[in-house]
Symmetry: C2
Subunit: 144 residues, 2 copies
DNA sequence: TCCTTTATGACAGGTTCCTTACATGGACAG
DNA sequence: CTGTCCATGTAAGGAACCTGTCATAAAGGA
């Protein structure tokens, strides 16, 4: 009866949900002058202060080259600073400015609200199931 | 005990799973000379032959401008053709070429394999749960 | 008829992400 | 010490997405 064809496919549903979440977050972050990509970098940087560009790229699951683009915007916005000294190897530590910390905190709030809105009406069990299932899917697709 | 912080957040898990799926599909589609975006357009076009550019954009959940970029590649690859006559309004119908149909069929196969790999080990009930939960999340985020 | 709305197409510009490629600093085997 | 390997930084170019803007064609109301 419920033969909808393409619309049932898990890949389609996954893409739709992620797209909706991304757009909702971007919309709420716009007044703060932040994008989702920038928010992800700030968050990674908050969890690992002084991380190198390459380290941040790994945390954000993008290439070093992609991260450079985002970092460029964050630098000109004054939210992060990149050390000029290398202190050992080639890696140059990146740190949050106080403005960056403020923006991150504000972004945490609005993103948390969007996530809560996404989960509206779901029980604790269902939320746990969703997390477990998504985790299993990611694991199944493996690194390579 | 299982305090992992950021890694538990539903948005993070959703992003991770979708990224893994996208990358896996792109990897398998590369030998066919197709990207996921192009595959999505071909699929939408197969379900609604002769659709306009704007109609395809709606089906693929992107803007008309974004779709133009993808359509441009598909045209030069000879997988679709765009009518030069408008037949009424401004909309110009797009149609799959036989080469486009062949590429789409091959793409269906490899994408189906990747989706099945993603769901490995999940029971029918779990797959249904995943679909229902993703659908609920998308609904909760609404159009705006 | 005229004007407004709506839908479509086109173009400019910018962001985020990728692949490919190259240069350099550190570590390690020979 | 030298050569190889690995991690990092840098750069160019393209793909796919966005917003903003404008022009035009169809439809509908005043």
């Amino acid at each position: 009866m419920s033969q909808v064809g393409t619309l049932d496919r898990p890949g389609y549903l996954l893409k739709r949900a992620q797209l909706a979440l991304r757009q909702a977050c971007d919309e709420q972050l716009r007044p703060l002058g932040l994008s989702m990509s920038q928010y992800a970098v700030l968050q990674a940087l908050d969890e690992q202060p002084g991380a190198s560009s390459a380290e941040l790229a790994r945390r954000c699951f993008v290439t070093r080259q992609s991260l450079r683009d985002v970092l460029s915007g964050l630098k000109t916005a004054g939210l992060v600073t990149v050390a000029t000294e290398t202190s050992g190897g080639r890696a140059r530590p990146v740190t949050l400015t106080s403005s960056g910390e403020g923006h991150l905190e504000a972004a945490h709030t609005v993103v948390g609200e969007v996530e809560e809105r996404m989960l509206t009406g779901l029980t604790g069990t269902q939320r746990r199931q969703l997390a477990d299932l998504l985790w299993a899917c990611t694991e199944n697709l493996g690194q390579h």
